[in-house]
Amino acid sequence: MIARYEKLPKKDRVPLQLRSLYEQKGYSKFTMSKFESYDMYYDNKDFLKNDGIITFTDFNGKLMALKPDVTMSIVKSTNKNSGVLKYYYNENVYRAVGNPPEYKEINQMGLELIGGDGIYSEIEVIELALKSLGKISSKNRIVISHMSFINLLLNELGYSNEIRKELVEIIQNKKIFKLDDMEIKEKDKEYIRQLVNISGDYLKGLEKAKKLCFNEKMKNIVCELEEIYEAIKLFDLEDNLYLDFSIINHIEYYNGLIFKGYIDGIPKAILRGGRYDRLMEKFNKNADALGFAIYIGDLERYLKEDIDYDVDAKLIYGDAKSNEIIEAMKVLEENYLSVRAEKVQNDNVKAGIEYILKNGRMEEK
């Protein structure tokens, strides 16, 4: 029997489905080596949030790193003559996670669109993000936010860095009650409350956002967000698109659209993405850059299917001669997808059906 794609467990099928989704849109596969000189990462550690980089010294005593992030690798590999790059990847990266730090191998699958232009690039990336989640579960959402919108609002309110930091924390954690005790103007508190309340329905959120526009730049962002919604409607996926400004990331790297993807039943966001032109600037590679990563590792537990047995059939061959075993296996392999030959019965591997080879004949157990 020929092994068929549909028979693969879901956790193996999903990356293949995603791969085909991205290739259909003309994205090519990016593969990366595992090690890199550490100094590239030293200046941009914040990009990895609080995760640490795993380092080692090479034979020349130079400090090397196990690659912690695919996006940074891709950014580093671009140059002025690269043109428009559309890459997808499925790679393992390595980080020291948690407190105390634990070394982890993290499977990241995602894509990058570098050198793109204007609104269509953003639409394409969001379309692919939505469709990616759709391959995993129909109960999904992409939640959109915008770093510039938040920053322009905070700039307009114009408080000290310390107060600004507190306001960012309030927006990020939806802690509106904290505003009550803060020494800022009442009307400013109201603006923050309204920003935090943009949490869910996209169109209703846009209406609320319009009321918070202090200047042209902010109005343009709302237009951008509106255009994205209208475009996604053409894919019939607008019901999975939500707006929520609690999604905030490092302003030094992310200056525009950012988003997270959630699946009902998985407690963490399994997709994270956005526009990271600023990271490109830091590497002196000025260009438009958009992308997202899906944390396949977090999905595995969710995608696990209950199976009754590990192999379809088992052949217990006992003292049978090799040529008899081979003939018996040939017959079984014609009829079953997976056949396991064992000398004696053992319960570690469960089979749907078991056959015993005795005196040249196969008997069902």
Partner: protein, 207 residues
Amino acid sequence: MLNVALPKGRLGDSVYTLFNEIGYECKEILSDSRALEFTDASESIRFLLVKPSDVGVYVERGAADIGVCGSDILDENGNHIFELMDLHLGVCKLAVAAKVEYQEDANLPLRVATKYPNIAKKYFESVGRNIEIIKLNGSIELAPILGLSDVIVDIVETGTTLKENDLEVKHKIKDVSARLIANKSSFQFKKESIENIVEKLEKNIKN
């Protein structure tokens, strides 16, 4: 069905009373039962009785959709959750305390005994003081008495425990109260039920 993590103990009882007042009844919780999960009469809420310092973990990892947790524990552990409400319960403060007659020697690193190493580090960094942390899990007041530490960082309610041990508050760090927290993913998919509860709790607390 919404999973709600409640802290075992006095705070959990007060929180259950609040939920009862807004219409979620589950008498078994207040009985002597050793069970740790209880479903309410309308079968729309499942209460989970959890160690107070673990509520944040349950909610962050989605084992509970929402929960009630002291802000001291949230600050110490830095859980990634939404902090939706201040319930104004379990009100106390985080403070630096020491023996009444304690005189600080600014030339030596300060030895700080505490259950809250992250909060202590952050506070002393903000005032530019060099410290050595001694992490303890209980009876923190003993540490300065035995000379194990110079000061402690701990929660203070009435101050009676400190007084009885000849200690006093030297600096207040911040106020503490119980917060209603939510898992960020559950907030997306169970938004209505969560916001419904928040609204009812807000109305109840106002009165």
